[in-house]
């Protein structure tokens, strides 16, 4: 006896459409990555500071307020540099352009190109923190033993909410020359050894 299949001719389009949906949703997972960045940029969440800003006219300076900006510097674990701010903090009037310097030194025997990634805390303040000049806009190359002063010029927007009086600007340098990266297995090995107490 044969098995009756009702309306088998309808089955193919259904399966095809569902497979298409599967592929679309796989793509959507990846689309979340740029969407996430766009969302963070639009809302200023997540401490991601925007790109370079230029002012056509001088911004309003709020002489009555003083905001403390603390500077942090850190290195990605595979980065053989020394990196620190010249001063640990500064107090600025919102709206006033301020320049401070970071110092980086290449302590390895190779020439290394690095990229700094900035971050502002609290995250909601990132939208009010504008950089007009920054070493993070381009990649920085240091020859073996070379030391370099890296300036950053920023303006704290005078529209910064009143409750925020302290900001933290943090930079992390990571290598963009791939060959200098410590390979992952070696890193995992050293971590495993740490875990064996």
């Amino acid at each position: 006896m044969t098995v009756h299949n009702q309306q088998p001719e309808h089955r193919k389009p259904v399966v095809g459409k569902l497979l298409l949906l599967v592929i679309m949703m796989f793509g959507f997972g990846y689309a979340l990555v740029p969407l996430y960045d766009v969302f963070c940029e639009v809302t200023g969440l997540n401490g991601k500071t925007g790109d370079q800003v230029s002012f056509t006219k001088a911004p309003v300076v709020d002489e009555k307020r003083l905001v403390r900006v603390t500077f942090l510097a850190s290195l990605n674990e595979s980065m053989p540099w020394e990196f620190k701010p010249q001063q640990s903090f500064i107090e600025v009037h919102p709206g006033k352009p301020t320049t401070i310097n970071y110092i980086a030194k290449n302590t390895s025997k190779n020439s290394i190109t690095g990229q700094a990634v900035p971050s502002v805390a609290p995250g909601l303040a990132a939208a009010y923190f504008q950089k007009t000049e920054c070493f993070c806009f381009t990649q920085q190359e240091l020859k073996p033993g070379e030391e370099k002063i890296m300036p950053v010029t920023f303006i704290v927007d005078s529209k910064l909410p009143q409750k925020m009086n302290e900001l933290i600007l943090s930079y992390t340098f990571f290598t963009s020359t791939e060959k200098n990266r410590v390979s992952k297995p070696a890193l995992a090995l050293s971590l495993n050894q740490d875990h064996k107490l």
């Binding site: 089955r11 599967v22 949703m25 959507f28 997972g29």
Partner: protein
């Protein structure tokens, strides 16, 4: 339960021996394999849970190293979610859907075979990592079943890659299963069965299948990003390279929250089949059940960040996700009240499936209420990552999803085997399971509210008593399931013959077929009026 399916038709031509299972395209054989697979994994995952509870029986380190404890919690979670609840529901769908809609088999039988046989491969990979860990060859996955980056990327053990490919295989299996379910339901309903005449179990699986298709590929994307982050120099979740570890949580929970409903919607369907049978009344509010299921499925896509309130979201975001989460209580409440209204003034009898169904309604609702507590943002900051969360999701997954699966097995086992199960043993299993589950999970609310964090092998002294009570409950619960195993085997091997109707008040096309159901369900479609 399949070995004794008697031959009523000489024309079945089913292969014999191991080939019957390896090459099976029969929805009942594949359903049985799914169910036995889930049952096996239930005992493996349960054994891991018992080691966890043994370690937590008293403060201090007793049995396992903290590193191994982390592997236990990770694998327990992964096995129970992907290896027990999901395959068990797919097994039930395989057995029941064709019978309930009057079809001879699933729409895509060969894909059905493939989607099952991917599972042993997937869990072979995952369990291999555990075996290697026990043999001292490096750690098994140890980052929790949620595998947050960078714990699972930068700091993940080498076996993370086993985990990644295992999740890929599970994902492919689930997606194929879901496509099969949708193709079956859309194309193979008996003449006259329009969408609003489908049994509720069919409806809930129809919607669940869409959820699976929508989110399993996102999970596959997340683990693929992990893979390329670990080995191919991308930085999706690595802040140093311009990525963001918080984004991992967004992608994961975009999958993870609908996943929660994948594990509960079929349970709603099962309960909606069982309660009317033993109340001897039609289901109260059939169409509202359908719309409630669809609303829950829709809402599941816009609540994911309630798992992430403490990651530093803006207040507007927290409020949005809080209110959208609260909204889910409305359709879920509709369901609970419909079940109660179905029982209202019915001629109730309390056979084992009904007992499990009533326990489900009561205990799942409790788990739902703790969920409402957790969605309140200011309270969640206190509850986050404590045992309160553990209590919540075990109430909805064990006394919710797992209870519904047990209820379904008791309900349909006579239809599958042709024999009645041992009612006395069934009741014993029910009472031991229900009481011990509460002894096990209820004290977790208290230690959680008092601040005991989850996923730790050791804890402060003041939590000792409640943890001891929970551990005692865990061992009773675990060993009670051996009764269930014995009962199922006993029922497969023989017993009082079941009628085709099985239960006095049973309705539905599956109960028009003889018991045990013939190898091919409806070779000629029935007429549905």
């Amino acid at each position: 339960m399949n070995a004794v399916v008697e031959e009523h038709h000489d024309h079945d031509h089913k292969p014999t021996g191991i080939g019957r299972w390896l090459f099976s395209t029969n929805h009942k054989d594949i359903g049985s394999m799914y169910l036995w697979f889930a049952f096996t994994m239930f005992f493996i995952g349960g054994a891991l849970a018992l080691i966890i509870r043994a370690e937590l029986f008293q403060p201090g380190m007793q049995i396992v190293e903290p590193e191994f404890f982390n592997q236990l919690t990770t694998l327990h979670g992964l096995i129970m979610v992907f290896g027990v609840i999901m395959p068990a529901f797919v097994g039930l769908a395989n057995w029941q859907l064709p019978m309930m809609i009057g079809a001879p088999d699933m729409a895509l039988p060969r894909m059905n075979n493939w989607s099952f046989w991917l599972l042993p491969a997937a869990f072979g990979l995952l369990l291999a990592s555990l075996v290697m860990s026990i043999m001292g060859m490096g750690s098994a996955p140890n980052f929790g079943w949620t595998f947050y980056a960078p714990l699972s990327t930068t700091y993940g053990p080498d076996s993370t890659d086993y985990f990644i490919f295992s999740v890929h295989l599970m994902g492919i299996s689930s997606v194929m299963g879901a496509i099969n379910v949708i193709a079956t339901i859309m194309n193979m309903r008996a003449p006259g069965m329009n969408y609003m005449k489908m049994p509720i179990f069919v409806w809930t699986w129809f919607i669940t299948a869409y959820l699976l298709i929508a989110v399993m590929p996102v999970l596959a994307g997340a683990v693929t990003m992990m893979l390329t982050d670990r080995h191919f120099g991308t930085s999706f979740f690595d802040a140093a390279g311009g990525g963001d570890p918080v984004m991992f949580q967004h992608i994961f929970w975009f999958f993870g929250h609908p996943e929660v409903y994948i594990m509960i919607l079929p349970a709603f369907g099962i309960i909606s089949q069982i309660v009317p049978t033993f109340a001897r009344k039609p289901l109260f509010g059939y169409s509202s059940m359908v719309y409630a299921t669809a609303s829950i499925a829709f809402l599941s896509f816009i609540v994911w960040a309630h798992h992430m309130f403490t990651t530093g979201m803006p207040v507007a975001g927290e409020l949005f996700f809080m209110y959208s989460t609260m909204l889910i209580a409305v359709p879920t409440g509709v369901k609970v009240f419909n079940w109660i209204s179905t029982m209202w003034r019915g001629s109730l009898t309390f056979e084992t499936p009904m007992l499990f169904a009533i326990a489900f309604i009561f205990l799942f609702t409790m788990g739902g209420f703790t969920g409402l507590m957790l969605c309140i943002v200011p309270a969640d900051f206190q509850y986050h990552d404590t045992y309160f969360v553990v209590a919540h999701f075990h109430y909805v997954l064990v006394t919710g999803a797992a209870f519904s699966i047990m209820a379904a097995v008791y309900y349909w086992l006579p239809k599958w085997t042709g024999n009645m199960y041992d009612e006395k043993l069934g009741k014993l299993h029910f009472w031991l399971t229900t009481i011990s589950a509460n002894v096990l999970f209820f004290p977790m609310h208290f230690v959680g509210l008092a601040g005991m964090p989850r996923r730790i092998p050791d804890y402060a002294l003041q939590f000792a008593e409640f943890n001891q009570i929970a551990s005692i409950g865990a061992f009773v619960f675990g060993f009670s399931q051996l009764i269930f195993l014995y009962l199922v085997i006993k029922c497969v091997r023989g017993g009082k013959k079941a009628t085709s109707e099985v239960w006095e008040g049973a309705q539905g096309l599956e109960f028009d077929l003889p018991s045990p159901a013939p190898f091919h369900s409806y070779t000629t479609p029935p007429e549905v009026k």
